[in-house]
Amino acid sequence: MSQTAMQPRDRRIRVGFQQALLLIRPYVWKRVKEQLRSIWLIVAYLLLFQTLVLRLAVNDALIISLGLGIAIIGLTLFIGGLFLGLMPLGEAIGLRLPRKSGLHVILAFSFVLGVGATFAEPAIGVLRMAGASVLAWEAPLLFLLLNKNADYLVYAVGIGVGMAVMAGMLRFIYQLSLKPFIYILVGSLAALSAWSYFDPNLRHITGLAWDCGAVTTGPVTVPLVLALGIGICRVVSASSTGGGSGFGVVTLASLFPILAVLVLGMLLGSSVSRPMEESRFFSPENRPYSEALFDSREAMLSYAFQNAREESHSLMFDGGRAEMLEELRSMAADEEKRSAIFGSDLTTLERWAVARGSEAQRIAVFGTEEALLEAVNLYSGYSKPSLRPGSMAFSGMQAAARAIFPLTVFLLLVLLLVLREKLPRTDEVILGIGLAFVGMAFLSVGIESGLAKLGNQVGGKLPALFKSIALEEERSTVINFDPGTVTTAVTASGDRTDFFFLQQEGGVKTVPYDPERYDEKTGTYVYTPLRGPLFDGWGGFAGILVLFIFAFVMGYGATLAEPALNALAVTVEDVTVGTFRKAALIQAVAIGVGAGISLGVAKIVWAIPLVWLILPLYLLLLLITALSSEEYVNIGWDSAGVTTGPVTVPLVLAMGLGIGSQVGGVEGFGILAAASVCPILSVLIVGLVVNWKRKKALGEGLESGDEV
């Protein structure tokens, strides 16, 4: 070295294309391998479960595997972008902000960052998906918040996150412990939730509120806020690492929005009618209140046709059933009338009539029996949702651009204009932001067409574990069905069952005959194959147990691939100089999420009110928090916010909704909330054990160390 070091060197080494490839290949491969390692478990698990346990073929296998490949590339790029671009940017601002600006600037910046992050990654789509089965008359307030007043919901969450980031920064600057924040927030949340439980309208909001807390902190926000906090704490804190300082904002950003949504619910709750019977909801005297839940009368009418019974449709019209049928008739003919309610495409109306319409309504739409018969043959087959790769890629890119660019531009502006500092390692940061954008677009496309699709297939069939379910996508219609072919079988106890033989795919199978499925007029028999219960031991409990195990492993596997958790774990390892290993945190969190999702599934299967599930857990957490060290409290509670990200949420919701739709219309809220409480518990318990061991080890040094 002494010889080479003597000569001044060129500033840059020229690297040829070949050499550059030699450098890049192992770099990229190492990172792809990391993502493969994190995602293979969940993929293999879902595939094996689908094929070996549920014994069903994987539909669209080609698209799914393509999607998975895209998702892995997306994850690799996105995580690379986080570490190269977004996190250094956040940290650079954090390091300079407290030294260059006053408290009011920091607070204003924090609020704008929090609100902006929420608007950039609104999780409202996820919440809508979870609440898709919510009926307007069963939970009017919830319905209102998810549909007409969804904007308010986003605002409330945004303000909540903004206040959380502000509170977090104040905490850093005045070096306050996170514990009192947790005690006060969780305490008041518990009280509010318990109180809401006794209000019929607010009861349905609690699930939404707790889930809001879980989903708002997305894969872009979390790493940014973490890096920012680390930077600020390095300047303002008193100890070498500040006892896990830099963490905690994510915790607050998951708790404040819950509060904000509960308060919003209470504000709106007084003006919204209470849950009621469907017939009362649509009755003329109640109509003004009901219409208040919708944008317009047309929107309500459309909702009624899609979701309510025929009697309710009639109630919407002053002229009763006759006017309703007349309206349908004119809609079939008049495009303008149709467009307000069913959209201008005639097939939507016709599909509705075939799928949901009553006999009279069908005739009203199609006019003649022959047209109806034709339409039934046309529409009654299972219609696969069409896949449009172009529009999916576009919407993925749009979401990615919205999630990344406004926030980073805001941060860059703050750095350059407010702090008047240069961007460190400009080329790396810009490359990182670009990678994060491309990665996120890839990730969302890959998840949608790969992992979520697979999750949907498995999730929808899961109830087959403990009960018998219909396989809708294998539904087929037998045209010109002859009831004469139906034969009767006798069971050992003498009961009679009717069945017929169906020739299908080169084989003959017996199909139980259900007279209700035979339409005499059209001569068709709609046949839907059944599956399950696959595990019916112990009075059906065996199947449910398998379901819990499935939920656990799925939650565990999906969490391993969560990018925000990866960012948190790397940050934790860095801040603790390796005493808290990345793998240890990820494992602890993944096990927690698995347990949480099992709990959430239990909530859905047995229809346990969310409050019963969440409150005891949080109270237990408060106790453990009081016993834990500040460092682990910060890290543990932050784990709650990072678990529910782009990989876990679609899978969990698919499963939750799949089970929910089979066991009776419970909404899908609450699983995510349960999935974020358990990891806190697991990380804190790990912390208690580790600290106890350390104290013991140090204690030996103390007691045994007599004067030497």
Binding site: M1, S2, Q3, T4, A5, M6, Q7, P8, R9, D10, R11, R12, I13, V15, A20, L23, I24, P26, Y27, L84, A92, L95, R96, P98, R99, G102, I173, G231, R234, V235, V236, S237, A238, S239, S240, T241, E421, P424, R425, D427, E428, L431, D574, V575, T576, V577, G578, T579, R694, K695, A697, L698, E700, G701, L702, S704, G705, D706, E707, V708
Partner: protein, 376 residues
């Protein structure tokens, strides 16, 4: 103002739980400014295996801190004894102390350590001096993830409980343009002390195990210590005797006055291997500044001929609080091992880039590196 003064750099390597009591004695003694470097201490733990099988010892980590302060040279040993008393370090398992003689070559006047202390004779209560002579410091910089392997050698030879810190390396990497991202910059720095008789042997063992004779694996160097106290409790776990082996060793050291009696015998299997070319007579040039300024200054140093640098974060605990335009509590240290003839040109180049200005609050210090090794 640019000054060149001799100083003592006193470093306490203490368990995180002890950090606070060490800080308290330093503050009580009038040492207002010191640095904290978050680290981890690595120990061995015996593994239990069924049927009495013998397993390799596992390494376990504890959070720890390096507490660094600069004091006038005549105070060095006293401050070290102060830290030993404050942290009760004479009991094995609690921490180590090192005293180095360094030269503060240039410093921003706020950072000049000679006016950082308001110590008097009364700052140091009487008590038995625990400091030992005949020690040499060993510092090994490796890729992230290799630190425990190096630490294991320090532990298994019974030398000392090492402290491992994270750092960022720069070198060839920064001359590659954007392609630099393909070469990981994360480094682990293991620092510990060994008796001077053993230091060469341990250095050779580390070179073997950490494969430092291969390119890009790392760097190791020895540095002389004025005095120190080493933590020899390399095992975590209870012992079954009235005194632990570490306590007995410490007692014999004290009786004998040094630790020559337990020098590791020269291992015969070293003979026959190709002789290593050590780098001798180098200087360690270190520079501490406000965090965020380091990147630019490292580039300046490399342009002036520095072969590479390691940067690590440190926390500055001083009299200036948050928001004031003083020294930032977030500081970083740039460490370079250079040829003595390069010291001036590098410090000049860095000073030219503002290393000593009011934004940066820089501090250069130099110490000898008698022996170093890396792949050339």
């Amino acid at each position: 103002m640019i000054t060149e003064t001799p100083a003592a750099k006193v470093t306490g390597f203490v368990h995180r739980n002890i950090t606070d009591s060490v800080r308290r004695v330093l503050q009580d003694a009038g040492i207002i400014e010191y640095y904290l470097v978050p680290s981890r201490s690595v120990m061995l733990k015996k593994r239990k295996a069924p049927f009495g099988l013998i397993l390799e010892h596992r390494t376990v980590d504890d959070p720890a801190d390096r507490v660094i302060c600069f004091v006038p040279p005549e105070w060095g040993r006293s401050v070290a004894n102060l830290i030993i008393r404050g942290g009760d370090l004479s009991k094995p398992g609690r921490g180590s102390v090192m005293v180095e003689n360094v030269t503060i070559s240039r410093a921003h006047d706020l950072c000049d350590p000679t006016n950082n202390t308001c110590m008097t004779e009364e700052s140091f209560p009487d008590g038995p001096a625990r400091l030992r002579d005949g020690l040499t410091g060993i510092c090994c910089i490796t890729q992230r993830g290799e630190g425990d392997n190096v630490a294991r050698i320090a532990l298994e030879t019974g030398a000392c409980v090492p402290l491992v810190t994270f750092g960022q390396g720069t070198g060839v990497r920064d001359k590659l343009g954007l392609l630099r991202i393909t070469i990981p910059a994360e480094k682990e720095i293991a620092i510990f002390a060994a008796t001077t008789y053993d230091a060469d042997e341990i250095m050779d063992m580390i070179i073997e195990i950490a494969k430092l004779d291969q390119p890009g694996k790392g760097f190791i160097y020895l540095f002389p210590l004025e005095g120190g106290l080493i933590n020899m409790k390399v095992f975590r776990g209870t012992h079954q005797h009235a005194a632990s082996i570490e306590q007995i060793v410490a007692a014999i050291d004290e009786i004998k006055g040094d630790s020559r009696w337990r020098a590791i015998a020269h291992q015969p299997d070293q003979i026959g291997r190709p002789a290593k070319t050590y780098l001798r007579g180098l200087k360690s040039l270190s520079y501490i500044c406000n965090e965020g300024r380091g990147e630019e200054l490292v580039l300046a140093a490399m342009e002036a001929g520095a072969p590479g640098a390691t940067v690590n974060h440190m926390h500055y605990a001083g009299r200036r609080g948050f928001g004031e335009q003083g020294i930032s509590p977030a500081r970083e240290m740039i460490s370079m091992i250079v040829h003595p003839s390069q010291v001036d040109s590098i410090t000049d180049a860095m000073t030219g880039k503002g290393a000593l200005d009011d934004e940066t609050h820089g501090l250069f210090f130099i110490s000898p590196v008698p022996k170093a090794y890396t792949y050339i």
